[in-house]
């Protein structure tokens, strides 16, 4: 019987997720994941975590670069699809200028070949007129082409800024929802009991409060003031149930700084709450001599 728990703890899955493994080792991890749903679940969790981190860095491709990248990619994959197509560079040259060039190259030539003949007078007059018309047409084409390019750059810029606004409003909406949630917690004294946590003798200025709903078991934490943490440490909240400490979760950096309420782990029953300083990630049991605040319900 294989011990999947030991395999999960081995650190192999993290290496897999971060792409540190060679193909043979990757296959081994995949085989374990296929045999044990627990390994699969753990691996998916790690991959999702990395995905969240990656996507959090989303950054709109700058307006000018977006066009360049997409057209080159399409040219490259298109050139391979159609046999004997031109090189990617040539394929990405915009088409509109080409037809007028062809017309201009073929038209004046007959006129020139006739010039040596005796009746050249009127013919060369036509040729000059045609050349002038052609030059004018080329100039207008060049002008229109540059305007067209400018317009498409403007469009891309406008699309980018629209995407940015959409992103901003999504973020704002999410913040609003979370603020409303916090407001609801604060404004429902009959649902949420407020438990003041006072500083222990070693940390007299520390203060925080827990908002506890005994019916839904929800726990929110609101920090007023906590001493700064040494490196590698994190605050952890504990519920005391009949004298026994129950882990209520660790404090995110912005909660410890007092920036916002944080929903902690659900607690079924408690008579008191306390907070200790634990190594990053939290501990299984509280380190009692680091207790910073405590309060009874």
């Amino acid at each position: 019987m294989e011990d999947y728990q030991e395999y999960i703890e081995s650190g192999r899955l993290e290496q897999y997720a971060l792409g540190e493994l060679d193909p043979a080792a990757r296959a081994e991890v995949e085989a374990w994941a296929a045999r044990h749903p627990q390994v699969r679940q753990e691996l998916d969790e790690l991959l999702t975590g990395l995905g969240v981190y990656a996507e959090a860095h989303t950054l709109a491709v700058p307006a000018g670069l977006r066009d360049r990248v997409l057209s080159r990619v399409l040219a490259e994959i298109g050139a391979e699809a159609s046999a004997g197509a031109a090189s990617p560079g040539a394929a990405s040259i915009p088409a509109p200028a080409a037809p007028t060039m062809r017309v201009s190259a073929s038209n004046p030539r007959p006129a020139e070949t006739y010039t040596p003949e005796p009746v050249a007078g009127s013919r060369s007059g036509w040729a000059i007129a045609a050349s002038v018309a052609l030059l004018l047409s080329l100039a207008v084409n060049a002008l229109l082409y540059s305007r067209w390019q400018q317009a498409s750059t403007d469009l891309v810029a406008a699309q980018n800024s629209q995407a940015r606004f959409a992103q901003t409003s999504q973020v704002m909406e999410r913040r609003l929802t979370s603020t409303q949630e916090q407001l609801h917690v604060l404004r429902s004294p009959q649902e949420y009991k407020m438990v003041a946590l006072a500083g222990t003798p070693a940390h007299t200025s520390a203060r925080a409060r827990v908002l506890y709903n005994g019916a839904s078991h929800r726990v929110y934490l609101d920090v007023q003031q906590l001493p700064p943490l040494p490196a590698g440490k994190q605050y952890q909240l504990w519920a005391l149930d009949k004298g026994k400490p129950v882990d209520a979760g660790v404090l995110a950096a912005n909660t410890a700084a007092g920036d916002s309420l944080q929903q902690m782990k659900d607690i079924a029953s408690a008579q008191a709450f306390a907070m200790t300083v634990e190594p990053t990630g939290g501990s299984v049991g509280p380190t009692l001599d680091t207790m910073t605040v405590i309060g009874n319900i």
């Binding site: 790690l46 996507e55 080159r72 990619v73």
Partner: protein, 186 residues
């Protein structure tokens, strides 16, 4: 979380796009570009730290994704996870081949958590709001480890050496951080 549409797309929604890419439908590539390029570009840009180089790597990555599509197996992970790995590997190869390594090591550490937090109040950059919210769930030590492993291309042992920490600590921090992040989209 509403601003992480890619990692939280249900797998079924990705399947149609994957099928069209496999069928060599070029319009699918434009759609893929519109949906995924900003996320891929963000990761690449964070690694190579140069707009033009990042655009080159993005182009290379998209072409590679197009050609490797047959090798994608949805049973092994999400489309986003797969494409972001391709992009990240190309970006890391790029900085290694340019022998940026020494330079970006020091730079990577300098501009990681502390520097970004200081820069934040100056300008409101909406594309980074999601990032701040997400990384505020991590303590700086966790973030530093993840940054080195993910954007610096360090192995866990190299990161341990770089940060002067026991390997076990690096492993625990990486694992805890990833689990915290994964919970954000439950």
């Amino acid at each position: 979380m509403s601003d992480l549409p890619l990692i939280s797309t249900p797998p079924a929604a990705e399947a149609a796009l994957v099928d069209r890419l496999r069928a060599r439908d070029q319009s699918a590539m434009t759609e893929f570009y519109d949906r995924y390029s900003a996320a891929l570009y963000g990761v690449i840009n964070r690694i190579v730290k140069d707009e033009d180089e990042a655009a080159d790597v993005l182009q290379e990555a998209l072409v590679k994704i197009w050609h490797s599509m047959a090798g994608y197996d949805h049973a092994k992970g999400r489309l986003f996870t797969w494409v972001v790995n391709i992009s990240r590997n190309l970006a890391i190869d790029k900085i290694r081949s340019l022998q940026h390594r020494v330079g970006s090591r020091t730079q990577g550490l300098d501009d990681s958590p502390a520097a970004q937090r200081q820069a934040a109040p100056d300008t409101f950059r909406p594309e980074h709001v999601g990032l701040q919210e997400i990384t505020s769930k991590l303590v700086p030590e966790q973030r530093q480890v993840i940054d080195l492993l993910y954007f610096g291309g360090f192995t866990q042992s190299e990161a341990a050496e770089e940060l002067n920490l026991p390997l076990g600590t690096v492993k625990t921090r990486a694992r805890t951080a990833l689990k915290i992040l994964a919970k954000l989209i439950r």
